[in-house]
Amino acid sequence: MTQAVHIFEKDARRLWLQIAAVAVLFAAYAFLSPETALNNNGALLDWNGIPAALVVLACWTLGASAIHEDSPAEESPFWLTRPYDRVSLVAAKILFLFAFVFVPLLLAGVVLEMRAGASVFANAGALIGLCLVRSLWLILPALSLGVVTRGLLDFSGAVLLGWVLLLLTTDRGFGIGTFLYGPDGPGNPLRNASIASVAPMIVAGIVVLGMQFANRHTMRSRGYVAAGVLLSGLLASSDGVASFSRRVAHPGFDSQKIHLDFDRSKPIQADEQNESCADVPLQVGGLAENMVIRGTGIADETNAYFSTFRGAHVEIQETENQYRARICPVPFTPNHLTLHAPLTLEVIEVSAVATLPVNRSMLDAGGAGRCEIREDVTSYLRCTLTEPVSGVTIAGLEYPGYQNFARGFGDAGTFPLSPVLRQKFDGVSKDMPGGWPLDDALRRNDARLVLRNERIIGAFPRTLIYEGLNLPRERFRLRPKPVSPGPGMPKQ
């Protein structure tokens, strides 16, 4: 350990300029980002994108430089013929990156949380957890590419090559963009459906780190890194891996116990937003109280003459534990038919976060953050929230006769380098499709904003069959929909 600290001190002395640059970037992000984020839309060229990308690149460069200081890829490195203990050498590099990447990231997260008025202590676990995950993304590429390259030029080439390999093999947008989204963005590896696909890259990175400092087979190591990147890219697009990923994350999930079928005893209703669709009630059983299921699929419709029409869109929706299948059949298909709907269903764990009144003051959501109903051309909601380690915070507007939950509309700006903070639900107004009538809600005194956490804990396929389904399309017209009161609200 003494030797590790000694090497660490040497690296810190050597790379102080890069360390300072990373620290300044983290500090600038932590102290300046929230203010400017309010005025931008998260595009790459605004304050959110460039500093975040700079921090990522600066961290990678710093990590690679630390490795290159005692490079195992050099033909005849200085350290190799000196009494370096290799475990201490690796430990020194990891200690270096912990001190100058993880710690600044954690501090930046703390500052952002405090500036947003969120509770640092209440979110300490999530903050540290997500910092560790983010640090892995900030550190491991630097380590694994650093040990197979000899200098920053080599390293830059390797990064570019790796990116191209990923772009060629995956359609899920890995790369720096992965880091630039908040926890409910596509880049959150704990929520990403294909988290398992990243495993080859991580394994290859760790293997070459050990192998290079132990045996220095640089060409072989380069091959392993390339293979890991390629394999990850190929697996990322695989549905099987996505499904496996969810199971890995939540091994307790058992789809066999979930019962789902059409409830033929209840009437079919026209869909209020699209008159060519219908809402068919469903019976759902075997789910825990805090779980809901959702899913979609494309169904076949078969008429009395056994002609099959493919293309009916089926979506499983839930409101207040009442399930319905929203069926949008192919136009001009007969009314009496058999519906055969193969679906992919997601099981979602729901937990309450906060219930807030609807008014124009700052709405304190406790440890979760705070929300504000802002007025510009129209009223809209903006929340600065601490997201959980996994899952996503959704918000709903409720008042008697109305309930509508949303995962977020146009983002007001993300906090890419804050592990837990995210601004969302921006621009919601009654003028937007699916938007909320916030102006109406502000005039009422019984409206509530409900924040809750949704976390996908499993997915499974299921086929629903409805024989003799009667979708009287000529009667599909907008009709007043029976309202369902929000939780805890008096029924009208």
């Binding site: 040497k10 033909e75 000196r82 290799r86």
Partner: protein, 299 residues
């Protein structure tokens, strides 16, 4: 006899190039062994294999009885290694390099380190990147001698050094490494000759000879034969007589197995009209040049 370094049937190949082929080399403890050979002969490959920088394809290297593949950090507390090709931490000052290395070596001798820096007139506060090549090599040597290693390996340390610096380097090495086993590779034989106790000649990855300097010097002689009448080079020219040069009155050659007692008879058998015979001791450089030319001619 115990050996500080032993190479047994050592082979190393880089793609299609056979850098070392069944190399056998013994460096006795306490010896100053000069590994000589032309550029590309395999000297650096041999040394890097000894230092576990390269892994041998076949054969074995033993450093103080330990398989070179097993050499780890701790073992390098007892080995000093200086190479013209080694990447040094150029950003460090001379002083910081010494301070940085000190904790790695339990036997680090501050007085020795300071003495060497003084002797080599090295500026303590200057970065290695700002030093001349000679100064960098002297810094590397000072940092490799300050912990009294029983074995010092120097790979082409004189390349590009001016004669003054070379002298200082050698002087410092000899003074500070008394009793130490030294393996030094070079194609600058003139400097090595003055202090080497053993020499090995490497050609195309193969050891052509490896022996004590005294024996080597005794074995090689430039022989000059004065003839009473012009004579042609006989067809049965001995294989151990190299580089024959003839003029109508004189024949010169290098005897690689010189024996004072038998040389007269052997020459007389070859040149019955011989009137005079003289044999001159050869410096190592001439021996090397003779052997190298012979190899090229044979190739």
């Amino acid at each position: 006899m115990s050996y500080a370094i032993r190479c047994l049937e050592l082979s190393k190949k880089f793609r299609r190039v056979q850098a070392l082929e069944r190399l056998n080399l013994d460096v006795p403890e306490g010896a100053v062994y000069a590994l000589i050979g032309a550029n590309g002969a395999g000297k650096t490959t041999a040394i890097r294999t000894m230092m576990n920088i390269y892994e041998p394809d076949a054969g074995l290297v033993e450093i103080a009885g330990r398989d070179s593949r097993q050499l780890c950090g701790r073992d390098f507390r007892r080995i000093g290694y200086v190479s013209e090709n080694q990447k040094m931490p150029e950003w460090m000052t001379v002083d910081y390099l010494m301070r940085y290395l000190k904790p790695f070596y339990p036997a680090w001798d501050d007085a020795m380190a300071s003495g060497l820096l003084r002797k080599f007139a090295l500026p303590r506060d200057r970065k290695l990147s700002q030093l001349s090549r000679g100064m960098r090599m002297k810094t590397a040597l000072a940092s490799s001698l300050a912990y009294h290693p029983p074995l010092v390996i120097l790979d082409e340390p004189f390349t590009g050094l001016d004669p003054l610096v070379r002298d200082e380097f050698i002087e410092g090495l000899i003074e500070s490494a008394e009793g130490t086993t030294i393996l030094i590779s070079s194609h600058d034989m003139a400097e090595i000759e003055s202090f080497a106790s053993h020499a090995g000649y490497l050609e195309n990855g193969r050891m052509q000879f490896s022996e004590e300097m005294a024996s080597l010097s005794a074995r090689f002689r430039e022989v000059e034969v004065t003839l009473g009448a012009p004579s042609e080079v006989p067809r049965n020219w001995p294989a151990d007589w190299l580089r024959p040069e003839t003029t109508p009155a004189v024949v010169r050659f290098v005897d690689t197995h010189f024996d004072e007692e038998t040389i007269g008879e052997r020459v007389r058998n070859m040149f019955p009209r011989m009137t005079d015979l003289s044999a001159r001791a050869m410096p190592l450089r001439e021996i090397f040049v003779t052997l190298a030319r012979e190899q090229r001619r044979a190739a």
